[in-house]
């Protein structure tokens, strides 16, 4: 084995680090526009999915323009404020105090002319963030559609929140008890009672993610409480 001097080792390390830093930053810069585009398309697909419109990455932008007819930003008193709903980053918003948050609302107009109101959700799962969108019927109480996603929940367990069988039972559930008392939707271990209007089944083996999802629903939806109560029709 050759013997290398200390100087050689220093120069070797410096050159290696500089070359690799250049390579990685170049790759990151060149690929950024593609990645951003993917994220934007995915967000549009998620919003569409929450009003039960199926889309593919190719037609998502067109369908979004067709179905999402309005969007605005609220504060937690339900008043409109300035800003573009689509670019609000929920990751930043949930770390702000409740009264400073920007709360986006997307209004979807469905094929039959009725409207669905979409709100974004974000919270902490077991391994990383979980998020989603939930849409409400014009009574601002009954869930019209929902979609959840996650960064790295356990496949086969917590990751099941992103699947159809878990999301389906949310449809038709209500977030207000007797139309006035905010109760959110509970995710119950051992299964929800069959006639329950405010609870769904949790995932076996995915209890922590299920609980995290329940906490996310509660903390995100309660922000819209005033708005929902004011604008129901």
């Amino acid at each position: 084995m050759k013997n290398f001097s200390n100087t050689y080792i220093f120069i070797f390390s410096v050159v290696m680090v500089v070359v690799i830093a250049l390579l990685l930053s170049l790759a990151a810069m060149q690929l950024k526009p593609f990645q951003d585009k993917n994220i934007e398309v995915e967000k549009k697909q998620n919003i569409l999915a929450s009003i039960r419109i199926k889309s593919t990455p190719d037609n998502a932008v067109d369908l979004y323009a067709k179905y999402i007819t309005d969007s605005y930003v609220l504060n937690n008193k339900g008043e409109k404020k300035d800003g573009d709903a689509f670019t609000v980053d929920m990751k930043n918003e949930i770390s702000k105090p409740a009264e400073d948050r920007s709360l986006p609302v997307f209004v979807g107009t469905l094929d039959d002319g009725s409207q669905a109101y979409v709100v974004p959700l974000r919270g902490k799962g077991l391994w990383g963030p979980i998020w989603g969108y939930m849409s409400f019927q014009p009574d601002m109480n009954t869930i019209y559609g929902t979609v959840f996603d996650h960064q790295g929940e356990t496949p086969g367990l917590g990751a099941e929140i992103a699947t159809e069988w878990f999301q389906q039972p949310f449809l038709g559930k209500q977030i207000f008890e007797d139309s006035v008392q905010f109760v959110s939707v509970k995710v119950l271990k051992g299964g929800a009672p069959k006639d329950s209007k405010h609870a769904v089944d949790a995932i076996s083996g995915g209890t922590i993610t299920s609980k995290a999802l329940e906490a996310m629903l509660d903390s995100c939806l309660v922000q819209y409480k005033t708005y929902f109560l004011q604008s129901r029709h």
Binding site: K2, A27, E42
Partner: protein, 210 residues
């Protein structure tokens, strides 16, 4: 030496059986437990590890005469980490849905013992082309075990394969139910044990002498 001489061919096929990184060398067990609940992540993980092992073997082998031995582990780590970040960035830009499937596992490739093991044991002392083949072979040996374990865990644990239901409803009606144990990491270890048992009963030379 032709590019597929019998010696080179052995580099590809050896790791599939007698030199298998998972069942014989007991490397990379951690990810075999983590990603095999479902078949699809197991397949994608297998492919990614194969790509990273092969390419980093190639790069390290090119550099092997210039790498100072005292910092060789750091150099290997830097090469592997760079590869993994590049793979991750490319997946995110061009095959976004696959990248979402893999999520945290892409980062986990860095910690896979097989990659560092092959760099240290093979690429540091051999020419680029054989090193590349060695990486491919070991990646394939690893993928093979992962896919086998993933197949049985998804089939018996969830009754599906690649997300499609394959166990007919009539079985469930007759009293069959999915085995919840299969979803737990413990059963991955038991399955790997069973594979090792089967492999050794066919290959007596693998059994240690007392």
């Amino acid at each position: 030496m032709s590019i597929f001489s019998s010696k080179n061919f052995k580099l590809l096929t050896g790791p599939l059986n007698l030199q298998n990184p998972v069942t014989v060398q007991i490397l990379g067990i951690c990810s075999a437990l983590a990603v095999t609940v479902k078949l699809k992540p197991a397949i994608v993980m297998g492919i990614s590890v194969t790509v990273v092992t092969a390419v980093s073997n190639l790069v390290i082998s090119w550099m092997r005469n210039y790498i100072p031995p005292r910092i060789r582990i750091i150099v290997q780590l830097v090469v592997v980490a760079t590869m993994v970040i590049l793979v991750d960035q490319f997946l995110r830009a061009f095959v976004y849905d696959v990248s979402k499937q893999l999520s945290v596992y892409v980062g986990l490739i860095i910690t896979n013992c097989i990659i560092m093991g092959r760099l240290e044991a093979y690429a540091m002392g051999n020419k680029p082309w054989p090193s590349f083949l060695d990486g491919l072979g070991n990646g394939a040996g690893y993928s093979m075990i992962l896919i086998a374990v993933g197949f049985f865990r998804e089939l018996l644990g969830s009754g599906t394969l690649l997300g499609y239901h394959v166990i007919p409803q009539s079985f469930y009606n007759a009293g069959y139910s999915n085995n919840g144990m299969m979803i737990m990491p413990t059963m991955a270890l038991v399955l790997v044990g069973v594979i090792i048992w089967i492999q050794r009963s066919f290959n007596k030379e693998l059994i240690e002498k007392e």
